[in-house]
Amino acid sequence: MTLDLPAETPTGRVVPGTPGAVLEVRGLTVSFPSESGTVTAVRGVSFALSPGEVLGIVGESGSGKSVSSLAVMGLLPSTARISGSIRFQGKELLGLGDREFSELRGEGMSMVFQDPLSALTPVYTVGDQIAEAVRIHRDVGKDEAKRKAVELLELVGIPNAKERSRAFPHEFSGGMRQRVMIAMAIANDPDVIIADEPTTALDVTVQAQILEVLGTAQEATGAAIVMITHDLGVIAGFADRVMVMYAGRPVETGTVDDIFYRPRMPYTLGLLGSLPRLDRAERQPLTPVDGNPPSLVDLPPGCPFAPRCPMRLSVCLELEPDLDPVRSGDTPGPGLHPGHRAACHRHREIEEQGLTATDVFPAQLAGEPPVARRPRESRTAVLDVEGLVRRFPLTRGAVFRRTVGTVHAVDGITFDIREGETLALVGESGCGKTTTINEILTLARPQEGRVAVLGRETTGLDRGGRREIRRDLSVVFQDPMASLDPRLPVADILAEGLKTYGVPREKRAARVRELLRLVGLGPEHASRYPAEFSGGQRQRICIARALALEPKLVVLDEPVSALDVSIRAGVINLLEQLREKLSLSYLFVAHDLSVVRHIANRVAVMYLGRIVEIGDVNKVFETPAHPYTQALLSAIPLPDPRKERERRRVVLEGDLPSPADPPSGCRFRTRCPLFATLAPDKAQRCIDEEPAVASQGPDHGAACHYAEVKTVL
């Protein structure tokens, strides 16, 4: 893992290759022409990879991490201007023609892309696509290649590989497609695999599976892996070394332990400090990093992070710091370990004083709303859901449409939310959480069961009744880009609800100003259009809109999952402050359990349309009783390398069964690790009888016949 490296060199200077490095990138710079000028997406990236090593590249969107990897693979569009040096096994790749490069791609270096649906050709079977990868570089016959494809599919854990190899990509789940991508990437025993956000589009339990498969793939091929991600948790458990990128440059690099336990660049500090921790019971203050990443067109001089950095000095605005060794003992020189380096003028201070995120960034921790101090039982319920059922007819085919079955999206769930309380509804995609909130928000009569908002049942509501309830019930969606009508100025967006409820014009204007102030924006923002705001600001506007009519209950549908890591903390803090100030109740829908632990009082875990475990957030997280909850919690990577190394994962087998045809009895039994160990007579009960939520102590219930507390964090 240690590597001999010459010193960091200024862009453009040719240095002799490092012996032993399988891939070496020096002073890589990539720019694109664009509408508003030249975008310099990568500004001097250097790293060297020794055989079998895993390098994690972390950064937010626009940090240049993906562009760098595409440049290495020679897959950038022809408009890109690339300079620097990329050496694969000592051979310079920059300037190679398409023919020479294509001989290397898939053979020496291969790549796993983020979105496995669009990355596979829809019109060929997966077997053919893998076989093609084999045949490009190996002189083998069709049958031989097909056999090899089946072997590869078995290696990446696809059951019935032979049969499944004849299926088309759309017949696979996301996780299965990503396995196919990995099979394709390792088809020719490459020396380097670049994985560009390979698990970002997947659920956590599937992510755990894929990371395991990647590990297997590495064992099988002995390849070095470049793992590109924005998720610090994934890196902590997977990488040997880490490079943090910001605005097209590495700003800190070192071993995982260096980065996670001794971060020396304020941006890294901020990133780590803004992560809510799944494994800590007492709520930690989150450190929001204010502002936004800079535009990569005409970047001003100085450190690109300086405008957002609380530690900036005047020199930071003038001179961009080099990536220097953190400890003076590590002075650069030929033949030295690259060590821990940070690009900050003040990294020595941080090192010497041992500064942490909370020292550098202002952190706040909001309290509970006053009403929440009363015991839960004495508070009124703002939302009461009992035995809610929602089924959809299942149709198939675009041209030849027909109904083939019924999807049991939500199948009898019961929960309530009391005043001033936050209930989190968690689960993976397809578990029915989105359907649940849609059922609540449409205020229509449920197919079965009942929904009562602020004590009023939705069954039998007329138009007027629904209108009244809508005032007290509002929603914030996941994607702030899609949530705001791009054609309306912010003032109109915020005033729309007020207008609908007949608030006079003058009052509307005043309320709009008030709302903007409430979410930390200024009145000058009222006349601007959504496109002029960053993601975090847009989500603040969405929150302001949700608050316009002074609701009692706000449904938050994954409100931070579309935001960059450094922006998230600010929005979470805002939501907590607002809850305290306005005595709001939240129904918080999320798949990110770390955020849930931070913000929620209670949590309900859903699986295939049913609630499998519900209760006080600390109880559920610390003493999970349902095997699914245990697996879910265990699948989440922690931003803590030491803990990650020690952790034993419960990795679930297979995919979510189809909600159109759920298993009999307990729905989780087909993937349940506990079920697999049960004696046949005991297991029969899981097959025959659907478990109901049974109490596991005060405010804690689980739907498992053999519920058994197990600590996984």
């Binding site: 897959l75 291969s110 669009s118 596979l120 019109v123 990868a133 490009i136 041209v399 030849f400």
Partner: protein
């Protein structure tokens, strides 16, 4: 699969029946067959006009619904009524259908094949001279109405081709063949082709332009797709990846366009037939509107509705053949 095709077919059949009904009602109320007789010199007596009109089921004094029931009843029995010249509509229709179908078949086959090829070339060589050149011509052709194109083709053939390229095939612009010509089958075929070139060009050019535009756009979309990048990451060269992975996928939307373009083609063929003196369904339609010949108009409506139905079915089948995602297992 067959079951769904049949269901789809039934749906189309209902549409055709309704469209025909609608067409019949429109024609029967809009066209006034009586005027034809009243305008004759000497003017026939009122009773003989009525008798004639009743015989042909064209009497506008009979309620439309009644006329339609009679027409539909006959139609189900395979009788499409009589023309003004008191010949059976079906008899003439058989001949004319052949003429039109020859033109339409050539038009759609050549049009789609050449158009797709040009679209792909344009997309692969985006912004090259070839691309600009084909794009410019596609635009000009799309902006030229078929009748004008037909007239210009005639004009060009007579003034330039036939006048200045004397040794080549003489291009004819009236009819399908020289009526008096005798000789070997080769001579006859050559004569046929010499008659065929201009009218076929008249509709193929527009179709080529149409398909090439859409294929170019569709291919450009595919060129930016992730799976093409994957194919390259596997080690395929860009050109191979484009052809093997790109083209196949970019063809999928063309199936839908086939259905759309067919209506256009049908209208185009009408002009072409009329202008080049081919005795097809389109020419028949135009002439019979002038003659207020309702039975013929109704027959043409049936013809075109059935053709559009067939085009729709073919498009569905093509779509399913090209795109595994819509197939049913």
């Amino acid at each position: 699969m067959l079951k769904f095709l049949l269901r789809r077919f039934a749906n189309y059949l209902v549409l055709v029946a309704l469209a025909t009904t609608m067409g019949y009602f429109l024609a029967a109320t809009s066209l006034n067959a009586r005027a034809n007789y009243e305008g004759r010199n000497p003017r026939p007596s009122q009773t003989s006009i009525d008798a004639k009109l009743n015989e042909l089921n064209l009497n506008n004094h009979t309620p439309v619904v009644k006329r339609f029931t009679r027409w539909a009843g006959d139609f189900v029995r395979g009788d499409m009524g009589k023309t003004f010249d008191e010949r059976p509509v079906w008899g003439e229709m058989k001949q004319r259908m052949g003429v039109s179908l020859r033109l339409l078949l050539l038009g759609s086959l050549f049009g789609a094949a050449l158009g797709v090829a040009m679209g792909v070339i344009g997309a692969v060589k985006q912004y090259s001279f070839t691309d600009h050149f084909t794009t410019a011509w596609a635009f000009v052709l799309l902006s030229t109405p078929v009748f004008l194109l037909a007239v210009l083709l005639k004009f060009g053939a007579v003034k330039y081709w036939n006048a200045h390229v004397p040794d080549s095939v003489h291009l004819y612009y009236v009819g399908e063949k020289n009526p008096g010509l005798t000789g070997t089958s080769f001579v006859l075929l050559r004569d046929r082709i010499a008659h065929l070139i201009l009218p076929t060009l008249g509709i193929v050019l527009g179709q080529v332009a149409f398909y090439s535009r859409y294929q170019r756009n569709s291919f450009l979309d595919v060129m930016g797709s992730d799976f093409l990048r994957t194919a390259q990451a596997k080690g395929l060269r860009r050109r191979t990846a484009l052809i093997k992975h790109g083209l196949r996928t970019a063809l999928i939307p063309m199936a839908t366009f086939f259905a759309y373009s067919f209506g256009l083609l049908l209208t185009g063929a009408t002009f072409t037939e009329k202008i080049f003196g081919w005795h097809g369904m389109g020419e028949w339609f135009i002439d019979s509107i002038a003659k207020n010949d309702i039975n013929v108009v109704a027959a043409v409506i049936v013809f075109s509705a059935v053709l559009i139905l067939i085009a729709g079915l073919i498009a569905d089948l093509l779509y399913a053949a090209l795109d595994p995602r819509v197939r049913i297992r």
